[in-house]
């Protein structure tokens, strides 16, 4: 759109479509365009620069330090999200990333519900030489977490990464189970765990509902945008940041153990505004 010749109605219509197509959502798209119109850009290039500046200011935050080193030992991170979003694979990738940095890591296989969930994480653990604590299928996820945390505390482990079962935020009892998991962590290590929402980059406007509801069950302190290699724009994160103040911390860029990067606002905007 920005290669169009001038600012006219066609330009604004194309810009609106481009943002909508990037899953930015109606509210934010109309808001951004409205703000942009008031700044009276004289050319499409200037409009692009202004929009970029506006969005960069929204993403002007530090990646939380606990992503790079534990604020206290063990740093407990609960990975939550809807079914199939990429949690288990993300837990493996983050485990690998941290262990390559020299930190000790335990992966807690707290999905005791889904078929072969424990096996899936166990295979990752073997491949990456990461310790996995799992329980019997059908056992209480809280009990598995308790074991993982006891072991982490006694061994002075730096990170406990908690893989949880996929769950739709519309299911009350599953959201209560997640709350209980947070309480187990709180009780065992004396402080609240970090909640991370794993979000599929191809998700549409339901992402906002997911973030809102999951935040009620566990303190969501960051979002991992998985499957960003799908080339989806992931525009929903603008609303997650703007409305809920959530930082996007990591981006999943494939199915391999090293396919994870820290979130780069510049890369994100480059794709969104391309």
């Amino acid at each position: 759109i920005f290669s169009l010749k001038k600012i006219d109605d066609d330009f604004w219509a194309s810009l609106e479509e481009s943002l909508i197509e990037g899953d930015v959502g109606v509210d934010y798209t109309l808001r951004l365009i409205d703000e942009l119109k008031r700044l009276k850009p004289s050319s499409p290039e200037e409009a692009k620069e202004l929009l970029k500046e506006r969005l960069l200011s929204l993403f002007n935050y530090e990646i939380p330090p606990w992503v790079f080193e534990p604020s206290s030992k063990p740093e407990v991170i609960i990975f939550a999200g809807v079914n199939g979003s990429g949690k288990t694979t993300t837990v493996a990738k983050v485990g690998r990333m941290l262990s390559r940095r020299g930190f000790s890591v335990i992966l807690s296989a707290c999905d005791t519900f889904r078929a072969a969930a424990g096996e899936q994480l166990e295979i990752w653990g073997e491949r990456l030489n990461l310790r996995v604590i799992k329980g019997e299928p059908g056992s209480d996820p809280g009990a598995v977490l308790y074991d993982a945390l006891s072991s982490a505390l006694s061994k002075g482990v730096d990170y406990v990464l908690v893989d949880t079962a996929g769950r739709l935020h519309t299911k009350y009892n599953l959201m209560e189970e997640l709350k209980k998991l947070g309480r187990v962590a709180q009780k065992a290590v004396g402080r609240s765990p970090r909640g991370v929402l794993v979000l599929d980059a191809t998700t549409g406007q339901n992402a906002l509902r997911q973030a809102q509801e999951f935040s009620k069950s566990v303190p969501i302190e960051g979002v991992v945008l998985a499957k960003y290699d799908s080339m989806a724009k992931g525009g929903v994160v603008i609303t997650l940041r703007g409305e809920l103040g959530l930082p996007i911390i990591l981006v999943g860029t494939g199915e391999g153990e090293d396919d994870i990067e820290t979130f780069s606002p510049n890369e994100f905007l480059k794709r969104l505004l391309s």
């Binding site: 909508i20 809807v82 072969a116 998700t203 406007q205 499957k227």
Partner: protein, 289 residues
């Protein structure tokens, strides 16, 4: 918000006696935003609403007794028309065993749906072989095995998807099974190599049906995803999953529009029983909030 928009449109239109062209355009503007909020692709919205506009601007609609309801009826019918349901049962090949394959993006629900379909076939008295053609994902075969254990289905795998399908066909013939369901690996619609793999599988084997499994919470990407998979293989239908959530499901409309293929089933939960036939009017009501 979606609900507010529609109630706003309705009350606005209902207050008027006869509708003017401007009234219809104002209403369509709101309807457009509502559909976009529901994740329907903007190109699909544009095309469908221009059709609605054309029909709504007919004199008999504008000066009918309740033009507002007329316009909404036209909208509703236009959307339902795009989403004609297909047969909520798998078609059978003239010569058994019938070979079916599920394809789609990572995490869309293929493995779970494969066993759901197997159970459906079993209810119809058919014997089913499940093929674990996902040789990449850790514990993919174990997942199929664990899910199908209570129903006692045979699960076969292989070193490659081609080996797995061949083994599945061989076993089905030996055991006189009427159906083979192939669970394939999740893949990106932009992964040329993985799409070629599907093309090769289609060339090598005679599939009775190839169904695209789509997560109902997908956003604008639905249009690209649908066309890419449809271009790679001859899809016979779509299965929409996770409808037990609260996603509006606009991706369903985009998919139907771009594929021209029917949505056959919907996944409404994680259990093997959680598969239902697709009803177009239900999803349209859901999209319209």
């Amino acid at each position: 918000r979606l609900r507010e928009r529609f109630e706003g449109i309705l009350s606005l239109l209902r207050r008027k006696g006869k509708l003017s062209e401007e009234d219809v355009d104002n209403a369509l503007r709101q309807i457009r935003l509502a559909l976009l909020e529901a994740d329907v692709h903007y190109k699909v919205v544009k095309d469908l609403l221009s059709k609605v506009r054309e029909k709504a601007l007919k004199e008999e609609v504008l000066s009918s007794i309740s033009p507002a309801d007329q316009v909404l009826k036209i909208l509703y019918e236009e959307l339902v028309g795009v989403m004609k349901g297909g047969a909520p049962r798998l078609s059978s090949s003239s010569e058994p065993p019938s070979l079916y394959m599920l394809v789609g993006l990572q995490g869309s629900g293929k493995t779970t749906t494969a066993v759901k379909l197997a159970k459906l076939l079993k209810k119809d008295g058919k014997r089913v072989v499940l093929v674990a053609a996902d040789v990449k994902r850790p514990a993919a075969k174990e997942q199929l095995e664990t899910l199908s254990k209570p129903l006692d289905f045979q699960v076969v795998g292989g070193k490659t998807p081609f080996d797995a399908v061949s083994s599945g066909i061989r076993l089905a013939k030996e055991r006189l099974c009427e159906a083979i369901i192939v669970d394939s690996a999740g893949r990106l619609h932009i992964d040329e190599e993985m799409l070629s793999e599907l093309r090769e599988l289609e060339k090598q084997f005679n599939f009775q049906e190839i169904l695209l499994v789509v997560d109902s919470m997908m956003g604008q990407e639905a249009l690209k995803v649908g066309s890419a998979f449809a271009e790679a293989v001859n899809l016979t239908g779509v299965i929409l999953t996770k409808l037990d959530g609260d996603a509006r499901g606009g991706a369903a409309l985009s998919m139907s529009y771009v594929l021209g293929k029917p949505i056959r089933f919907v996944g409404v939960g994680e259990r093997i029983d959680d598969l239902e036939p697709f009803y177009p009017d239900r999803i349209v009501s859901r999209i319209l909030g």
